[in-house]
């Protein structure tokens, strides 16, 4: 049980934090609060590429840094802390799967991810389908049909990962988002993140892997969203500690009311638990161990902690929490989006319950 943060890990966090805090202020984010401008900061994307961070988990053969998934999560956590307007999560997670399951033909796209030329996306959610592991989008003879909901950065993406079913077996596929048979309808998401509803009418799709590959990919994608919320939740908490320490009512800082301090302390406990169970999932995934339960635990915590921290920090700010000239309100949007993305708390608890019913009784064997 070694929780030590290595020098390497610290360096990555510092580098990511520096670039992101230099480039993403609440004023910078303001321009994306309407639908007029796509939430994509190309200059920041370029800087992340230049620093090498986009290739953090891509092997050196493709020009990357050659670190693992855990290191990538450090970058993602920093993205969550500032709500970075760049598609790090879909791009880097899709690249990870392509690297794992793709072939020689895919090295160009990986090199393009590292250099910042390519944005990648993943089509996972479906409308009226409560199970991300049981898609209805279908592949037959190398052609994909069906519809996917909430596909991030579809219009910018150069390549698209798709979770689909073929002959009754779930699999992971690579499709060309620019193909004319793939039609996207732009959505208006709660966070203003660009997403599309995409229909596929015989889109060419190449198989990357079977159900095990889907699990491999989804467990990492889910955990990455949790890492994003670790950063976002801690930021909400810090903003609240600072604001309540400065804000005075009845002649004293409102933080000196025990009711205020205790509600903030509850958020701290949630943030601490979230960080630790996410670290557990990351560590298991990095070690290639069975992480199914750890991922269910992490995402169920992610939903609970994000919801509670978001609503409590809103409350502790009074009116300032909802003021669009202050930064907290945007975190409320991401808390909700990531709570529901890739399985809600209840969804993951049900999965956990199924595992228990199948005999997983022991926390440490």
């Amino acid at each position: 049980m070694d929780f030590t943060i290595t020098d390497e890990e610290r360096d990555i966090t510092t580098l990511a934090s520096q670039i992101l805090t230099d480039n993403v202020s609440p004023q910078d984010l303001h321009q994306y609060d309407s639908r007029d401008i796509t939430r994509f900061d190309a200059a920041l994307w370029g800087q992340l590429a230049e620093s090498g961070l986009l290739g953090i988990a891509i092997s050196e053969d493709h020009g990357g840094m050659g670190f693992g998934f855990g290191h990538l999560c450090l970058l993602i956590e920093e993205c969550g802390r500032v709500l970075a307007p760049v598609p790090v999560v879909p791009t880097c997670l899709s690249a990870l799967a392509i690297q794992q399951f793709g072939g020689a033909a895919d090295s160009a796209v990986l090199a393009d991810v590292v250099s910042g030329k390519a944005v990648l996306s993943a089509a996972i959610h479906e409308d009226c389908n409560d199970d991300i592991y049981a898609p209805t989008c279908e592949v037959a003879a190398g052609r994909l049909t069906g519809a996917k909901h909430g596909v991030p950065y579809f219009e910018q993406a150069q390549s698209l990962l798709v979770v689909a079913v073929e002959g009754g077996e779930t699999g992971l596929y690579l499709a060309d988002p620019a193909h004319e048979s793939a039609q996207g309808t732009a959505l208006w998401t709660t966070t203003m993140e660009p997403q599309s509803y995409v229909t596929f009418a015989g889109t060419p799709a190449r198989k990357l892997g079977d159900a095990a590959a889907v699990t491999w990919f989804l467990e990492r994608y889910i955990t990455a969203l949790c890492a994003y919320q670790v950063g976002a939740c801690e930021k909400m908490l810090r903003l609240t500690a600072e604001y309540t320490t400065e804000r005075q009512q009845f002649g004293v800082p409102i933080a000196s009311f025990q009711a205020v301090g205790h509600r903030a302390a509850n958020c701290y406990i949630d943030a601490t638990c979230l960080r630790l169970v996410v670290q557990q999932a990351v560590s298991k995934l990095d070690a290639g161990e069975d992480a199914a339960t750890a991922v269910n635990v992490a995402k169920s915590w992610c939903g609970d902690a994000s919801h509670r921290i978001s609503t409590s920090t809103q409350h502790l700010h009074g009116g300032m929490g909802v003021d669009r000239d202050y930064s907290l309100w945007r975190y409320a949007l991401w808390a909700k989006q990531n709570e529901l993305q890739l399985g809600s708390t209840t969804y993951h608890l049900r999965q956990l319950g199924d595992a228990i019913a199948a005999g997983d009784f022991d926390i440490d064997l």
């Binding site: 929780f3 701290y268 630790l276 635990v297």
Partner: protein, 399 residues
């Protein structure tokens, strides 16, 4: 960061588990299941303590110079958790909390007298902090020790909630020795380690909700030599704080909760409903079990994190340790509720009843949980600690 055990740690856990399973005989269980005997003190329990001492387990984390095994905090925590899973009432306060504080602050004679007895399982120490008027505000205690010219203190006062006093050999006692006006309420307290058979000490039992006996302890003109001071005169607060910090981790280990979860899972797997389905396959049952698991996994990680912090820095991380204490105690109450729902109405039947479920353990368990939220440093103070040290917020106002 690599959150897994070493092979040696895995082996240690298996060894402790096997050892404890052997130790927990049906006869011992029967002794512990008697009302007001659950915390030990009976003849079989005393025998087991001697055995644990002989086999070296009590000294697991103690330095070799005291005859200990000198294992690190992670191994000690593994031990806490496994012992708790087995359901053995190990007197952690004596060996893991008061003992180490005595080793840090006591003088040589006192250490030589008491520590070998602690490590051999031959002695028990009760804690005399709380008083009728001093609970959370411990530093307002009124028990007074007045020093005479002969090097003897005369102690008068009353302690409350002195657990285990009925079979303790010593009392770890906090008393006021200095002038509160001049030295402040924290700077005028001293710690003593006093044999319980010293004339003038008497106890009366206090029976509690959880079938746990505790005591009121009366001190009337108790004469104690200054060599029984632990640390310098009026420097007791530091000793108390060091002891309380160590207590916190042992209080909320994930051991008992995960052991109960396992038992409830097994029960639900073995129980068939009138329609022929397993209890375990009901959606609501799976949800209750999953919610318990969700929280227990976090408790486990937060405890391991604390063990890691102690190993690395020698100290707990204040705000995280308080988080462990609060979440560990409050979640256990909630999870137990959900687990009792799974066991059904029969889970309210006493250990001594016919037709109880899981031997009535849940019925006793729920009655013992409420003390965890205010004992060992009440959760309100823990939340204060988090807001001050974890979030750098100003101290809450006090009247």
């Amino acid at each position: 960061m690599k959150l897994a055990f070493t092979q040696e740690q895995e082996q240690l856990r298996r060894d402790i588990r096997a050892y404890m399973q052997e130790l927990m005989t049906d006869e011992l269980r029967a002794e512990l299941h008697q009302d007001f005997k659950g915390e030990g003190g009976g003849p079989l329990w005393k025998e087991c303590m001697r055995k644990l001492g002989r086999d070296g387990w009590i000294g697991l984390g103690w330095p070799k110079e005291y005859g200990g095994m000198e294992k690190g905090p992670m191994e000690q925590y593994i031990f806490f958790a496994e012992v708790a899973k087995a359901g053995f009432p190990f007197p952690f306060l004596t060996s893991e909390s008061v003992g180490p504080a005595l080793a840090s602050f006591g003088d040589e004679d006192l250490k030589n007298e008491v520590i070998p007895k602690i490590l051999s399982g031959a002695t028990n120490i009760c804690i005399g902090y709380s008083e009728p008027g001093a609970g959370t505000d411990l530093a307002s205690l009124k028990t007074r020790a007045v020093k005479g010219d002969d090097g003897y203190y005369t102690i008068n006062g009353q302690k409350m909630w002195t657990s285990l006093a009925e079979f303790a050999d010593y009392i770890w006692l906090a008393a006021r020795t200095g002038d509160e006006e001049k030295l402040g309420k924290h700077g005028s307290i001293s710690m003593f380690l006093i044999p319980m058979d010293t004339p003038g000490i008497s106890i009366t039992p206090v029976y509690t909700l959880g079938s746990v006996r505790t005591n009121a302890t009366y001190l009337q003109d108790v004469r104690v030599h200054e060599s029984r001071l632990v640390g310098a005169e009026n420097a007791g607060w530091k000793v108390i704080m060091s002891q309380l910090n160590r207590e916190r981790l042992a209080l909320v280990s994930h051991g008992p909760s995960t052991a109960f979860l396992r038992k409830v899972c097994e029960y639900a797997a073995d129980t068939t409903l009138p329609n022929g389905e397993r209890l375990l396959d009901q959606d609501w049952v799976k949800m209750n079990l999953a919610k318990a698991r969700q929280g227990f996994e976090a408790i486990r990680m937060i405890c391991y994190k604390q063990a890691y912090e102690i190993a690395k820095t020698g100290n707990l991380d204040m705000a995280e340790a308080s988080s462990a204490k609060i979440f560990g105690s409050e979640f256990l109450v909630e999870a137990t509720r959900g687990l009792m729902e799974v066991l059904g109405y029969a889970s309210t039947m006493h250990m001594g009843s016919q037709h109880n479920v899981l031997g009535g353990e849940m019925e006793r368990m729920y009655r013992t949980l409420s003390i965890l939220t205010f004992g060992g440093g009440t959760n309100e103070i823990q939340r204060d600690i988090i807001s001050i040290f974890g979030l750098s917020m100003p101290r809450p106002m006090r009247a």
